[in-house]
């Protein structure tokens, strides 16, 4: 097999940043150094060459909603965004609460443009009542357990899930923290804008009471707990205090929560409808502060495709969720790196090696060094482009960033040494 040299970039990995070329052979990094030559080259001039990104929170919609996305199209969108691994959420039809369904998703992902990892549900049917066969799912490689889309609302069920997971090495319970009794039909953040617009509100306290409760349960059980898409200032503060007290908790934040606020909902366009909802200015600032001080460990997209017709409804009636995979890294750069909230190193940590560690992925987010599996992302921070929904690789079009000019784009993505994105074009 021929040698491939990624030439002219700056390598950025957990060890820091340096100018170097990277030689890949047979799916593995074989040499990192200056002035390398090979049979083929990939131009990385002006680019960062980093471990591929890892997204612990994507909705690939397969099985059951293939008109919105499939494993194949979602993985292609992920690769274009620089991701080499994604964790598929379990709110499919049927849900990922059964080994046969999980095995089918993994099989569909085998030839995809990025590694597709399956989550498993915490409870059967995501009903929040009985535990799913977590051990059987764990045997298939599942490490992240979540009822995402819904919160595990019952404290007794949550306690048992956390306890049971302690027997499964590497398992982490991931909570969509929003108390359904407090959400009570809300469709946007409860605050000044919901008050004006007459749209029922989802209050910040709906998120915060679950975070507070689950921190207590995590400490009591000693289990690993991950909070998905933290979105309020109060939740950030609760996680910060929990970590200071020694709880084994991690948290993620989504690009839309550090980029957009509830004021967007004044258009009544449900492309801005998402759970948890877009929050207020102070929450957005708290998310950035939480990322800056490491309270929030990782950035995840909560990529949530929906068919166009489903969003051509009134705000309250439309489904929640927005696309994220193809815009995430550019938004990280624009909103966090350029303004100095995160260093480039901290940004890649939050998008690559920290999420790889949470998801238990040994071959992603590792140093770019000889012997490493060549799961790599080559990112041009100066590339200017405009988000055009009909040019996205995702099957769906529900990006809240349509028409927005962004600076920063993935030029190449390598999956196990294969160039799956070349010059911004998907190869699979």
């Amino acid at each position: 097999m021929a040698d491939l040299v990624i030439r002219g970039g700056r390598v950025l990995d957990p060890g820091g940043e340096r100018t170097a070329d990277v030689r890949v052979h047979d799916g593995v990094v074989v040499e990192v150094g200056e002035h390398l030559t090979g049979d083929a080259t990939l131009d990385a001039s002006g680019c960062l060459v980093a471990p591929g990104l890892v997204d612990v929170h994507v909705h690939l919609r397969e099985p059951g909603m293939e008109e919105a996305e499939t494993v194949e199209t979602g993985a292609r969108a992920a690769a274009l965004g620089g991701y080499t691994a994604v964790v598929a959420m379990p709110n499919t039809t049927p849900p990922l609460d059964d080994p046969t369904v999980v095995a089918a998703v993994l099989a569909a992902g085998a030839r995809a443009a990025c590694e597709v990892v399956s989550s498993g549900t915490i409870t059967r049917g995501r009903a929040g009542e009985e535990l799913a066969p977590m051990g059987e799912l764990h045997a298939l490689g599942v490490r992240m357990f979540t009822d995402d889309g819904d919160c595990v609302a019952d404290a007794g069920v949550m306690r048992r899930a956390l306890e049971y997971a302690r027997a499964l090495p590497g398992a982490v319970i991931s909570q969509h923290a929003e108390d359904p009794a407090l959400v009570a039909g809300g469709a946007m953040h409860e605050g000044e804008w919901s008050s004006r617009l007459g749209i029922p509100g989802r209050p910040a306290v709906a998120e915060e009471v679950v975070v507070a409760r689950d921190v207590i349960l995590a400490r009591a059980t000693g289990a690993r707990l991950h909070f998905q898409h933290i979105s309020t200032a109060g939740a950030v503060e609760l996680v910060r205090a929990a970590k200071a007290a020694g709880a084994r908790v991690t948290a993620e934040a989504c690009p839309h929560h550090f980029t957009l606020t509830d004021a967007c909902c004044a258009t009544f366009d449900p492309v801005f409808k998402v759970n948890p909802p877009l929050r207020a200015d102070a929450d957005l600032a708290a998310i950035k502060a939480g990322l800056a001080d490491g309270t929030i460990d990782v950035i995840a997209t909560d990529h949530a495709p929906h068919p166009t017709a489903a969003k051509e409804r009134p705000f309250e009636e439309a489904p929640s969720g927005m696309l994220g995979l193809e815009t995430a890294l550019a938004l990280v750069w624009e909103e966090l790196v350029r303004p100095g909230v995160l260093t480039p190193l901290a940004a890649f940590a939050a998008c690559s090696w920290k999420p790889a560690a949470i998801a238990g992925l040994a071959h992603h987010g590792v140093p770019v060094a000889p012997g490493a599996v060549a799961n790599l992302c080559v990112f041009d921070p100066e590339h200017r482009w405009e988000v055009a929904p009909d040019r996205l690789a995702s099957k769906a079009r529900n990006t809240p960033f349509a028409g927005r000019a962004l600076t920063g784009k993935v030029r190449h993505t390598l999956l196990r040494g294969d160039v799956v994105v070349r010059d911004g074009e998907a190869q699979r």
Binding site: S194, L197, G198, I199, A309, P314, F315, E316
Partner: protein, 307 residues
């Protein structure tokens, strides 16, 4: 003016202009043959996703008195859940050749979405808990004919389930735009979590504000809110926030009473009070037709609409 979606789209002079126009149409509605050919040939569709006999008949009467052709489209809300998107529905209707859609929907912002999808004018006839702009305008018209052209400084309390009330959202802004001093009166469970950006003050105590008011505007209480734990019982609601005969007796002698209908007699308003001399409730209904004629004329008549 192309659409009427929200009171916030109108400044004071636009509101006053509409009230002037409505005043002249009031005269038309009192003629022996209450009809003018002002909008002959124009097609108005009433598209009601939510039942509302009163508002629908008021709009259709207004359109007919302007010589419009009126098409009623009954859309069972189930057609939405059957998969046809709102966009498909309204684009189908528009293809039949129409000039305006008068729209009622149970979801906030539905008319705003429709206005972005079609070329015809859109009139918001009530969208979820958001707005009901023609109700606010007809209320202003009613007040104007009772207390004179200016309501500057008038003290108006809107009492009831403010949180879920499109009448309150439109009314508070419209009354304040013409200079009234607006107070919202409700238990905390029936108010938005914040009223930042609303031109109002808030009270939880009707008795504390009652004696200073020029106008008491009562909102319909919906019984299902009791199951949502918004209030303990209708009896307790009436005891604390109802305009009972005893409370009405403590109003200033010239104070007026309004209600958008339909009323729950004996709950938010005593029957004797609703029918008493201070009540403007019948006039509100009467003025609805003239006000909606003015809105349609403004949107579709000379100088309005598609210019």
């Amino acid at each position: 003016m192309k659409h009427l979606l929200s009171v916030g789209d109108l400044d004071r002079s636009a509101i006053e202009q509409l009230l002037e126009l409505a005043t002249s149409f009031r005269e038309v509605t009192r003629r022996e043959i209450p009809k003018v050919p002002a909008l002959r040939g124009k097609v108005v569709v009433s598209l009601f996703y939510e039942d509302s006999t009163r508002t629908r008949i008021s709009f259709e009467t207004a359109a007919k008195r302007l010589s419009c052709d009126v098409m009623g489209f009954s859309v069972a809300s189930s057609s939405v859940t059957k998969g046809e998107s709102l966009r498909d529905t309204v684009q189908t209707i528009e293809a039949m050749g129409i000039d305006a859609v008068v729209m009622r929907h149970s979801a906030a912002g539905a008319p705003h979405r429709v206005a972005g999808w079609i070329d015809a004018s859109v009139v918001n006839a009530g969208d979820g808990c958001h707005e009901h702009p023609t109700q606010a305008l007809l209320d202003l018209l009613t007040l104007r004919h009772r207390i004179g052209p200016g309501i500057d400084g008038a003290r108006i309390a809107i009492v009831g389930d403010i949180l879920h009330s499109r009448v309150a959202r439109s009314g508070a802004h419209a009354f304040a735009a013409l200079g009234a001093d607006v107070t919202l009166v409700a238990p905390p469970t029936m108010l938005p979590s914040t009223v930042a950006g609303w031109p109002v003050t808030v009270s939880h105590d009707l008795d504390a504000v009652l004696g200073d008011l020029d106008v008491v505007y009562l909102l319909r209480i919906q019984r299902e809110r009791q199951r949502e734990t918004r209030f303990p019982s209708l009896r307790e609601y009436t005891a604390r926030y109802g305009l009972t005969v005893e409370r009405a007796a403590r109003l200033r002698p010239e104070a007026l009473i309004m209600h958008p209908g339909p009323m729950n007699r004996g709950v938010e308003i005593a029957a004797e009070v609703a029918e008493g001399p201070a009540s403007l409730i019948t006039e509100q209904v009467e003025n609805g037709v003239a006000m909606r004629m003015a809105v349609l004329y403004e949107l579709l008549g000379a100088g309005g609409g598609h210019g």
